[in-house]
Symmetry: C2
Subunit: 213 residues, 2 copies
């Protein structure tokens, strides 16, 4: 925890402020001030603000996607061993679980997922490009896996359903981040959300949606 390394201090501060205020909203000066380093350190160590964002993303998304791919391959291998097509519930879980696990843990990883969820819909194509540089392979792997689980469905409809899954998942990240108003306006809503219960509810919801004829 006592990583007084300047680079890591910047990465942590940037991750927090990018998540809280967005890429454009978080200025270099705010980041470096929170990190307790000089303002020029960002350009010295990372080259530019955009490259700093890429470093923030890369640090977390690589292990997360490795976990996702490992879960996916385990499901596919087990299905092949049994000579059946991959079951839907573990497939959806392999896609959703690594993200939700970060939400349960809270802390830095939660903040990263909020940032990542925002980048998917960012208007700036350059920011989208950074994100998809690390996501495209995993997404394609899941497209192919879901096609195997739904062999009677044309691929374009599989992709559509996968989009619904991704949309529900990303929006759940926003909601669990705590600040989302659709939850907040429900006054009777429990103060502390049971993240695990939300996860199971989300997975069941998505599996039902995916499995339809």
């Amino acid at each position: 925890m006592e990583e007084s390394n300047t680079k890591d201090r910047i990465l942590n501060a940037a991750e927090r402020l990018f998540a809280e205020q967005g890429f454009r909203g978080a200025g270099i000066r705010a980041i470096t001030q929170m990190a307790g380093v000089n303002a020029a350190a960002v350009n010295y160590h990372f080259g530019s603000k955009e490259q700093l964002l890429e470093a923030v993303i890369e640090r977390r998304i690589v292990p997360i996607n490795e976990e996702r791919m490992a879960l996916l391959e385990a499901v596919l291998l087990e299905a092949e061993r049994q000579g059946i097509k991959p079951p839907m519930e573990p497939l959806v879980r392999a896609l959703v679980a690594p993200t939700i696990r970060g939400l349960v843990q809270g802390g830095p990883e939660l903040r990263f997922h909020v940032l990542a969820a925002r980048m998917v819909t960012d208007p700036d194509p350059q920011l989208q490009a950074i994100f998809h540089k690390y996501m495209d392979r995993a997404i394609l792997a899941f497209v192919s896996a879901f096609c195997g689980a739904l062999p009677d469905l044309p691929m374009e409809r599989v992709v559509m359903r996968l989009q619904f899954v991704i949309g529900a998942m990303l929006h759940t990240v926003h909601c669990l981040h705590g600040s989302h108003p659709v939850i907040r306006i429900i006054r009777e809503f429990p103060e502390k959300l049971d993240v695990e219960a939300v996860t199971e509810s989300l997975i069941r919801f998505l599996v039902r949606g995916m499995e339809g004829v």
Copy 2:
């Protein structure tokens, strides 16, 4: 179409640029230049950039939500007349259809929905506040309606499922906007998406998810 009114010219240009580049990304000078008016006209006619955004939002969201509420009340009335609980499919359709109709039409209303979908997850609480000033009543009405359709489900789980619905819907808006990469990386995907087919697929997906035990 020949509304040479300065206010409307600014509203149209702002709607387009806010949708394409985000609220922060679209500058006053870019907006007024596209509108063909002086840069000071925004502050003269609307007071500030933020109030311009609110005017852009209000112009479209009021009739859209009126349509949403009319559809909802029709479903509730018909269910009460038959002495049954409101069926799920028309409920989901009442929530989703007004948005999708705008996507089918294309043009200004499509751009507005893209803008609206982005505002839901905007990091700036002031922008969220503008959006929810016009959305909260409709959302609460749908929460109560879905609770009536799922009387055995505790409200907190109904709200959770409603969030999944909203998330899938918003993400679909982004995808149909054309620029979203999860679709674009699928090279074999049809050039022109059949928006109506996507809508029906989305509604069936969501109804299955909502109806689960």
